[in-house]
Symmetry: C2
Subunit: 457 residues, 2 copies
Amino acid sequence: MDVKELYKKKDDFYGKKVTLEGWIRNHRKQKEFGFIDFSDGTCFSHVQIVYDQSLSNFEEITKLMVGSAIKIEGILQKSEGKGQEFEIKLLSYELLGDCPKECPLQPKRHSNEFLREIAYLRPRANLFQAVFRVRSVAAYAIHKYFHKRGYLYFHAPLITASDCEGAGEMFQVTTLDLNQVAKTGKVDYAKDFYGKKAGLTVSGQLEAETFAMAFKKVYTFGPTFRAENSNTKTHASEFWMIEPEIAFCDLEQLMDIMEDFLKYIVSYVLKHAKEEMDFFDRYVEKGLKDKLNKLLESKFTKVTHEEVITILKNANVSWEFPPEYGEDIAKEHEKYITDYFQGPVFITNWPKDIKAFYMKQNSDQKTVAAVDLEVPGAGELMGGSQREENYEKLIKRMEELHLNKEEMQWYLDLRRFGGCTHSGFGMGFERLLIYLTGVENIRDVIPYPRTPGNCEF
Amino acid sequence: MDVKELYKKKDDFYGKKVTLEGWIRNHRKQKEFGFIDFSDGTCFSHVQIVYDQSLSNFEEITKLMVGSAIKIEGILQKSEGKGQEFEIKLLSYELLGDCPKECPLQPKRHSNEFLREIAYLRPRANLFQAVFRVRSVAAYAIHKYFHKRGYLYFHAPLITASDCEGAGEMFQVTTLDLNQVAKTGKVDYAKDFYGKKAGLTVSGQLEAETFAMAFKKVYTFGPTFRAENSNTKTHASEFWMIEPEIAFCDLEQLMDIMEDFLKYIVSYVLKHAKEEMDFFDRYVEKGLKDKLNKLLESKFTKVTHEEVITILKNANVSWEFPPEYGEDIAKEHEKYITDYFQGPVFITNWPKDIKAFYMKQNSDQKTVAAVDLEVPGAGELMGGSQREENYEKLIKRMEELHLNKEEMQWYLDLRRFGGCTHSGFGMGFERLLIYLTGVENIRDVIPYPRTPGNCEF
């Protein structure tokens, strides 16, 4: 039986014999009795196992090491101790896998930095039990949200020969033998696996658009890559992204979907990972649950980029980065704006020169129908846009930016063959997890994070 | 409103005005009236839109091109024609995006080969509407199956510096400038993104084991890569895989999970993609639904590899590849065995020399606790094993196979620190889709397939 199941059905088992398999997370022994803190990882709660001298192998049991895998049989009974509703009175046990003292994970406070070095053991620690269970619950919530609303789950290709968006930040993928390249002094892409230069995608959006033109509502949820040499708390070179794309949907409708989607996920995780969220609230970010509940209750504000700059310029603040019309905003501005509106803010109609080529050009000739969602305590959590559906305007923009039109003819052709108003947004999954858990470093919400110089396990 | 919603709530809308946005999939016009075959891609069923000369713009409407995006208003009414329950009597329309004749996708029979060349348009064709909707439904079923049973969804890393399993079949991932490598004649991995040679993973299993040792039941569902230069109907260089890993689970229990899992997915898809499955049954593989229903009713047989070879040797068949104890079996053998047992067959206890290093060594010193599931009409659909949990045996096996122990110390250490009996299996998602849809070529169940020489879109 799983511990999770036992918690659900405990009332059926009081006074009865139960069998569990799992690990010793802590062990307190006294002269005449002992307590084993037991977990099988199926839920955040542990089970207390009590034993006493009446067992013939009492001495042997007291020697069981923290971290060991054991199978136990015992009687479920109400607990008289504090901190747990029930406990199991041990009848017998079997040692399945010992855990010697040299195990680097011990039942004490380790730093997150140290735990990263033993990433293969850290999921056994409380913090990571909570983090990765929330990661799993949130992923399920995302699939459920879209599935129930009729979206098609679209698997975007990861290896791509197009570098339209990723110039300079793409990993190259090759089967050429680099030593051979060095030896011969020649790079012959005709001999590479795909017969040309290929790399890892930075976004599945362009391909998702082709599916939105056939299924109306689609979403991607998969890995994406950035070969960006940034060693910050929020950058990883491999991360998961969610990119919905919706036909017959303009920027206004898109913002409604973004708000509804985010509230659904937050609410789902609060409800379905209750213990984990309590843990984060208590030990990781005080006030986390208040922050999330406040988000659920707030109506998101919609303002234009121009209005935001005006507000920032009028603010009585000495900015590190002075705000400017036509320019991007900095972290300090994001924070000011969400404080100013006391809640999440959609910033729309961004200067076209700082946004991507595919965004719909507004009639002012200066801005595009893009939107960033700024969330208190998270900064920019999602970004999206209405896509340019006008063939001529899109071509002209690609020419201005010296993008390869021939390579992108299929993308352009979506505008020639039954094109329509359509919009989409992207959300980095790890950015959401940082927001949901209060954990600050992206390295701690990815099972095996990849960052410059780090590709362990 | 989505067409899917209209089908569900049609009884509420008879005689009422409805508004739809979507695409013209076919258009028959006669002198006094016309029929538009309309779809918005939210479900397999189309909607028939009828119009007649009473509309002042009748002539204009007759000129609407197949493939165009339109918005229509009309009255929902019972249909007198055959083939549909209801139709919409057109009141007005708006052309959202025209579709000129040069659109390469036309309402006629195209070959699958041609459709691959226009993969950005093929999701609009009936076959691919069905294929990719089943892909999405099956993916959801997989997440649902594991989630409901308490499995943790684990995102395995895709970029890896370990090549334990993938020797020779791995793509290399690099940020080194190949032209620079050619020019200088030097490969300096210290300057590569991760400071060492890295590649794309061929399996997330080893990392999944680390999480099973913390969460008991986990699964991966993500992309994997093979740089294998095979141009066959069943090989792609980028595909999605499902890899569950379960602690405190032996080979017998694993087979029960494999059977239960497969039956759940097949049953879910039959139920939730009814129209699509009818379509495949009628146009792609006659008898498909019978095949799948038979699987649901059958109890899977369990036999050892040795027993299988004996059966094959005793068969009155002149084999192209003569069966041998200690060797792998061929496609012709797989087919014979599922025919012989008239249903799915688990083949267990494989010769250790043809299986992976991490599989549990049986006491006969010759075989390992591995299992392949052979399914009528699909061949090998899943493969799994109990994992070797004995540290010394695992080390010895790695030494015999000249594998890098130092690099894999973390994997070995799982056996030192609270190790236990554990098992897992893998299933190629596309192989399942080929089985579920009857579509023969893996290139036709992946949105943008990657194969040797092919990396388009």
